[in-house]
Subunit: 154 residues, 4 copies
């Protein structure tokens, strides 16, 4: 069950990071195609071929933005804004997932410690209970033994 | 009460992320208007219309910065610096909030484990206490039973 | 002591975030002055005045990089690289400090829960111990009371 | 063993941050050389010397991207994309490692508290057990003492 929970918990931030990366890849591939379509025929348009647009989507999603290519039409800019936001959000998710993974590794250690504490408490409780039961055994033996000679004396 | 505390705690980083996003949106919208006003009439100014300035605010807040548009006046640059800093701070807050959310999901698991430990300790304590009380019942019965035949024998 | 530890712990990531921000501000102010000195007299140099260099340091530290100003000399580029690296490291530290602060807020809740568990365990242990002591009182009373009539009967 | 675990745990995110920084440095040094080789002889190529390419790799890896230098050939752009992705991933890892370090510092405090709770529980259990054993000693003394005068009376 612990293993199952571990798998379930791990899959949230792993799934989020993997999913965001996949969404980013799709956004870049379709965004490159869409921006060429949007820019087509515009004056001063420089995003005119798919390979160039793909390179543009890489420098846009990574927020490098050399300025060698950029959209000049309203729809091209909307597509650019989507690529930027998806790119940034993906890095945020990946960074947060990495932090969660690192912290989780540290926690496994702490969980091990918690378990050892738990075992120590259980062991202690068991030992105390056993010692008290032995004392009861002795008192009961004393009570039965004393009852007999008294009866014999009576 | 636990649910209330959970809601209170969750709202801090969610509120921070939501609030920062709202502040960023307002900064971009008003910054675009302000930068056009600041740049108006300046030599070599390229941020001359609101739609362009809005696009500029997007590439500035996301730190892409193609260089197709940029402020050239002191006040325009102050506005640009504000948009940059608000943008970066917002991603930092959102990333931190995401990490907290991921870590919190992992913690819910740990809390469940802590609760099961607690329950185990309680159960163990109760069982030990019950066993000891039963021993006392037996000793007391032995003491009362032995008192009677002794009195009869006396 | 708990309050003292709380203050000590909080000050680490707060101090780191505050210190990094201060180092970034100093790096930007002195870097702007140094880059003008380094670029002075170079061919095609565009970072020629302190106000321009200050604006350049803002767009460099935030990694926006419009490309309206940039260093063209080796020393100017070394200074630029320092401003970039200090800028990026500062955002990393601030984001990590924010995450720690958010997670710490969540933990205060958990600590409260841990304390309540602790109190429950103490209370339970005390109650069990008191109940057992009462049983001992009764057994001892039974032993003394029975001793007397027996002695009278003997 | 605790010290060993601490060292093992600490080394994960420290190793990841150190390793990523080393990979980034190697990527930048070899990427600068490779981009010059890829761009050589291309029309409008501006990345023509190693010192320029090194400066380009710095502004690319930090995502500043002034646009003073950028690759224009397919292979040059592939190398640029690699430098961007390695750069961004490194900051993500460093930020996550910083967050883990900050959170770990906070946790050391909490671990101290957990240890004090553990000690308190142990002390309490020991005290309870000792008190009950003393009661048993008294009951047993009462049982032996009463047995003797009774035997003498009989």
């Amino acid at each position: 069950m612990d293993v199952l929970l571990g798998r379930e918990g791990r899959s949230l931030h792993l799934k989020a990071a993997g999913g965001a990366t996949a969404v980013l890849a799709i956004t870049m591939l379709t965004g490159s195609w869409a921006v060429v379509a949007a820019e087509e025929g515009a004056r001063n348009a420089n995003l005119t071929t798919y390979p160039r647009a793909l390179w543009w989507s890489v420098e846009t999603a990574t927020t490098v933005g050399y300025g060698d290519f950029y959209p000049v039409t309203p729809w091209g800019r909307v597509i650019g804004a989507v690529v930027m936001v998806v790119g940034i959000t993906t890095y945020g998710i990946v960074t947060a997932a990495l932090a969660t993974w690192f912290v989780g590794r540290e926690d496994r250690r702490r969980r091990r410690m918690a378990r050892s504490v738990e075992e120590a408490v259980h062991k202690l409780s068991d030992e105390t209970a056993n010692a008290l039961h032995e004392r009861f055994d002795r008192v009961e033996r004393m009570l039965s033994t004393k009852g007999e000679p008294e009866a014999g004396a009576g």
